[in-house]
Symmetry: C2
Subunit: 822 residues, 2 copies
């Protein structure tokens, strides 16, 4: 069979290629099996000791065989085959060799939540915990049904730095604090509480690190070398991973395809040992690192890091990559061992980690004693799960423009024209990494439940050059009272392996929308997809009444959308990413990893972008009005940095205090719904601003958020958001990567800095050079191995144009050339 | 239904969108129908008068309705619906609303030839004529069977300037002389001889002009503005179109999506009237221009050339675009007419041209009198057609490396490992724009006919990150005597809408090949696909015995490939394109349309590239050796330019002599097969070199070629190639676009300049400034209309990085950044 599928199906391709007979999952029989007298079956021993005892039983060949994702197990010892590659990005999705769902009946579906980018827009950490809890419950049900494994390669927590990134949809957004907070709640939901005797499932924080490019302009993820300053690394790329490792103590990490500053991440002991395991204390024996699928092969080619395949597997294993998605380990570790490039210690360490992880999951213990082993098919797609999938979609949808048409009153109309490439979306609503859901309620389905006539036409899509279909969409519009266009982008233009090239609405889609808007009828436009389209022409068009963004809303996405449009669920989502002008793509190459603006870059994210966003990060309108008042906080106060640190240190009991986590203050912000709506959610966002520390200064930094639910109109007891700030909230990162508290004038604004609802000011005092509250490991702390030369011609894999340092002249002149029509 | 197909399926998408009920084609009944007394039915009148009489009968509404590709006809007058959009790039392919083939039985298939890029590699004009004749015969059969139309939107004759171009596969290659010669033979085969009473079919030379980018880095074909100097335009972009118009007098042209120097081509009267119709004399009443699908819509958006949709259709109609693929004409011409932007003359001119074309096709004449109307299903897929499809594939395949393993002796082996993503290729072999063939003989099928054991494994492909499939390919290799890898690229990475990003073999594919090459067994690698991959690592690898390139070889591609490998059909194809080093993509952006090298460009094509090609244009090895001797030619002679022109002018009878076409000399080159093979084809290529005229000078220019068939070993009467040179062969193009003969020393070398077999030198004398033999129209000869402003924000459609003027700094530094592993 030929692999003639779209580039978007890379994961599926890999799944095909790696398909083996493994279609059911089982557990070893520790009661009566060959291992019953081995320590691994002794529930009273430590996971480390149990795993070590098992590994000690294995022959060399058995060890090598079990270093890849498709693990054959050890039949001799009654250890069944195990598939480490399971996915559950926003619901149980797939397990090699395919989806774990059956064709019908039990285990034929699982709840499909919105893509993380839309759940990120909810800014609701409790929601994330609830969603993750449902996912892990359903994952356990599939495991108990013999349909999937116990570890899942989720979440994707790389910050969504560039709107072109094809996998930005898999992330909660662009802000590192937001991601760090989100991911802690997610992992708690997936793995269970840290003190629990068993892990619910093992989550995998990926892709560590600096991974946010697919194939932009000849720069392929498999070979890209991300040039990242220590300042940007600590300030931007690392916080979600630090939260995974240090705070959430997640069970697994995945190193990425790309190199960082010259070293492929899976072969970088400084990254995997010095930073991850030592600096962040991610050092439990059951915590393991897996290489992204074929990333270890890529260390050989195209990275050309190792001179031989054996050297490549030796470099990665010794660096701390314990498991190989792929077969390079089982294939080439034997040769590496023979050549003396690895030894028993290297091999046993990796296997002990992965087997200890299975121990922590209860893999070797009897089912009866484990609550998670009692979960079954009846726990999948519960009423609660269904409601939660709908709630998550409702909460994420963002209102960007509204002239008063919304909430749409159904009393006044008898017909709706529902037009666009997403109007009848089903699988589209799931984005990528999806399984089979119980249902997919499209926008068309939802509209048809409203009791009005719905005139549907597909119209044109972002990747369709043709507006011309003899006008079904115009016919639909002509006979309807209201026109709703549900369009935008989908995985045809943003997906794994496929970065976007443009941020503008395509000519045909914009042509269709503006033509529809010229009918003199109310028009609502909904942009779907993760990457923002520059909606300037829609904002400027007075004939377009309302604009919403709805991401990839999952199994009940259509219903959620119409619940928001009609006011059943008033919108309160906030943009988790910046909506840049279309020209942004010609101002900075994707390969430029730097955040701060420079002569060759307008800067990245709301913190550093020096242009005017079409819609800023955090933006989101409501159907009602809100006011905010800070009822408790440090307004007007002054704090000595030395005092803050001393009081914090004394409150920490560990020998290595985490000063950045020390509480600084809690703001209490009373939020009042001033009408006209009787009730609406409201997301309280707190941004830190100020010119403390060295220039340049970020425009603002999100330091806290809380979603308030059902804020009632003029309630006598106002809803209060509690926004906790830590010393880390106040810190800046210096060029070494150290976090520093500087004296100066600080302010916290509530809501987006462009339209603040409240403001608090305070002062920190101390020495001008500031105080380091977290020292970042230096590159020479730990070592970098490897640096071989592969026998391909020098420069063979040189990448394309527009890479990081090449942006300067290419930009300004590029704009001139592409100016058209004048 | 959602348009969730790959971007490669753009044409198919458009086909869906435009689908109407039209599924059968018919002819008007001029004997008894309503028009029987109208002049259109009078076979003795001129096509122009007949068409004008019909147009005169039409109401305004009927006229507007019939300006789009899906023409409803005029039921009132007995004119049936007609679909102008038919495709036959390398065999009858599709006709809206889909493929014209039935599910089974009659008309269920048509012959599928190789993609033009492989037919171009044959350098065999007679072959091209023969192939085109079969295609037009089969097209007539489908037309007579009511399954397709009479005009076809083929050939794609834009020079294949950049190896990244996704549609380069549709063209014969990079050299303008080659394309001009090829296309004349093709059109004669498609349309019949120019003096014939009826056209066989109408061909359409596309895409006029400067179209050779799909979506590189934010520069989309629908909005790209190609900046082309007059010198490059005349020297490089125009020759194939000039040959179409002036020499072949093709029936139709298609203007392109892009703009050239600020003006969308479909809205450019200088291009469509001054150059095409006036300068080239393409002025017959039955010759029409169609806009590429939705290109007229694109004049409005995203080109923003016209301020309103009505202005867009007016600008294009008045510029000379007669037919609209799409519906902008039928939809917006009425408004344009009402607003006075067009008048009856504009509208009637367009319709008269398209209807006159149908007259020339015999559409209105009785079937009995027309030989083409007698063609039927029995004329499809004849033995001749089958043999020709095989022959075309055999002739195109190029041998790039051979250590003596090939031709492969089957006597010495008992088993072959056949490995790779193309090893069992079926539809892949057709590339794009294909129909349903009678069969698809894959390489695997062909190998299985050889009487040896074939061990097949798919292995990895160019877009598959995973090498790891537990080693089926290594198992196959281990138990075989010879390893043949058939891999490379396909429409997953190069296709309509999808330009390539890299020229290197992917890491996994290269890894697999080099691993297979370490087995100590003979290895043959076949690169499939149009765009060349930099094969430097394969050339340098002594364990790889042979390397071939086989493009997209069509229905019998597998058989052709093994015929070449085993010596049944010794290879004689020549690369029709340069194989650049992989780093080429980082040295010049696709958007740079200039040919000559500069500070920011290494130059383009074998004429101007200042680096060292991996394999040069024209390269191709044989299994035997050849010598060449020039037996007649101008060696050592001197010619006065004035004399050459005077003698030529006097031999031309027209009032506007085409001096560039005047014969200069014919070289006779005797080709001797010196063994060891008893017989082999040989392509005689003649390149002009010399430093005449202004610097910089091209390295060489192809001026003639001829394929000799079956050159026998040491034949007593050697095969003689006759290589005709014209004055145009000697001319240079100046900055105004004028063709000039300069005094100086000239040489013609036979075979690639890197390894010439023979050389002839001569001198031209005259004034230093030279003599213009073809004056190019100036931009102010004719006018450019339009230049409106569309109501979208300024710069909204600004394109991406790396556009033409932006290449400078981006290149050198980009290389450094992407250097890996050190």
């Amino acid at each position: 069979m030929s692999l003639r599928t779209s580039i978007a199906g890379v994961a599926a391709l890999a799944a095909q290629a790696l398909a083996v007979e493994l279609t059911t999952f089982g557990f070893p029989d520790c009661a009566n099996g060959p291992l019953k007298d081995n320590l691994v079956c002794d529930g009273s021993a430590s996971p480390r000791d149990r795993a070590a005892a098992l590994v000690n039983e294995l022959t060399l060949e058995e060890k090598f065989n079990n270093t890849g994702n498709t693990s054959p197990g050890v039949p001799r010892l009654g250890i069944p085959a195990y598939q480490w590659w399971n996915e559950a990005l926003h619901g149980v999705a797939f397990t090699l060799p395919g989806k774990p769902m059956t064709d019908s009946g039990n285990f034929s579906y699982a709840t499909s939540f919105p893509q993380p980018i839309l759940m990120g827009a909810a800014f609701d950490d409790e929601l994330i915990y609830d969603v993750a809890s449902v996912i892990s419950t359903e994952a356990r049900a599939f495991s108990n049904g013999g349909r999937s494994g116990l570890d899942y390669w989720t979440p994707n927590i790389n910050p969504y730095k560039d709107p072109r990134w094809g996998r930005g949809q898999e992330t909660p957004g662009e802000d590192p604090f937001h991601l760090a907070s989100y991911v802690q709640n997610l992992i708690r939901g997936l793995e269970g509480d840290q003190g629990d005797p068993y892990k619910k499932i093992v989550a995998t924080c990926k892709h560590f690190t600096g991974y946010d490019i697919e194939n932009w302009n000849g720069n392929f993820r498999y070979q890209f070398d991300a040039q990242i300053s220590m300042q940007d690394m600590v300030e931007y790329y690392m916080p979600p991973f630090q939260a995974c490792a240090r705070e959430a103590k997640v069970g697994a990490f995945m190193c990425s395809y790309n190199a960082v500053n010259g070293v492929p991440t899976c072969a970088d002991p400084w990254l995997l040992q010095t930073v991850l395991r030592e600096h962040w204390g991610w050092d439990q024996e059951d915590q393991w690192v897996v290489g992204d699928c074929d990333a270890i092969q890529n260390v050989y080619l195209p990275h050309e890091w190792a001179a031989t395949r054996e050297q490549a597997v030796a470099d990665t294993l010794k660096a701390g990559t314990d498991l190989n998605c792929g077969t390079y380990y089982p294939k080439y570790l034997p040769g590496a061992y023979e050549q003396g490039l690895i030894n028993d210690t290297d091999l046993n360490r990796a296997l002990t980690r992965t087997y200890a992880s299975l121990v922590k999951l209860g893999y070797f213990d009897s089912a009866e004693d484990q609550p998670y082993r009692q979960i079954g098919w009846s726990d999948v797609n519960t009423q609660h799960a269904q409601e939660l999938a709908l709630k998550a979609a409702r909460e994420g949808i963002v209102l960007l423009k509204n002239d008063g048409l919304l909430p749409l009153s159904l009393d006044a109309i008898s017909s709706i024209a529902l037009i666009g490439s997403w109007a009848n979306a089903t699988e589209q609503m799931q984005g990528n990494y999806y399984g089979i859901p119980p249902y997919l309620h499209s926008p068309l389905y939802a509209a048809q439940q409203l009791g009005v006539t719905v005139n549907y036409a597909e119209g044109t899509s972002q990747d369709n050059p043709t507006t011309d279909d003899w006008g079904a969409e115009y016919d639909a519009a002509a006979k309807s009272d209201v026109i709703i266009v549900v369009g935008g982008i989908d995985n045809d233009v943003e997906s794994e392996g496929l970065d976007r090239l443009a941020l503008a609405w395509s000519g045909p889609q914009l042509d269709m929308i503006t033509r529809l808007a010229s009918y003199g009828k109310p028009v609502v436009v909904v942009q779907m997809g993760a990457g923002q389209l520059d909606s300037t022409p829609l904002v400027a068009n007075a004939n377009i009444s309302a604009l919403l963004w709805a991401g990839y809303p999952g199994q009940d996405g259509g219903v959620a959308l119409f619940d928001v449009i009609t006011g059943v669920a008033p919108p309160a989502g906030r943009l988790p990413i910046t909506q840049y002008p279309a020209r942004y793509t010609s101002q900075i190459p994707m390969t430029d990893m730097s955040l701060r603006p420079s002569a060759s870059s307008p800067g990245r994210t709301y913190k550093w972008y020096n242009g005017t966003a079409v819609f800023p990060f955090g933006f989101g309108l409501h159907y009602t009005n809100f006011s905010a008042e800070v009822t408790a906080g440090p307004d007007g106060q002054s704090f000595a940095i030395a005092d803050l640190i001393a009081s914090c240190s004394s409150n920490q009991t560990t020998t290595t205090p985490k000063l950045d986590l020390c509480p600084f203050t809690a703001l209490s912000v009373a939020i009042t719904n001033t009408g006209p709506l009787p009730s609406s959610d409201f997301v309280a966002l707190a941004f830190l601003t100020g010119s403390f520390g060295p220039a340049p200064h970020p425009r603002a930094s999100l330091v806290a958020y809380q979603r308030l639910h059902d804020v009632a109109l003029n309630a006598t007891a106002p809803s209060v958001a509690t926004l906790n700030l830590t010393l880390g909230s106040l810190a800046r990162v210096d060029e070494s990567g150290d976090k520093v508290l500087y004296p100066g004038d600080y302010a916290v604004v509530v809501d987006v800095p462009e339209a603040p609802l409240a403001r608090v000011e305070f002062r920190l005092t101390g020495e001008e050079e500031g105080v380091v509250i977290e020292r970042w490991p230096r590159l020479d702390e730990g070592s970098r191995v490897g640096e071989g030369v592969v026998n391909v011609p020098e420069g063979y894999y040189e990448g394309g144009f527009g890479s990081r340092n090449g942006g300067d002249d290419g930009v300004g002149q590029g704009q001139e050339v592409l100016g058209v029509g004048s």
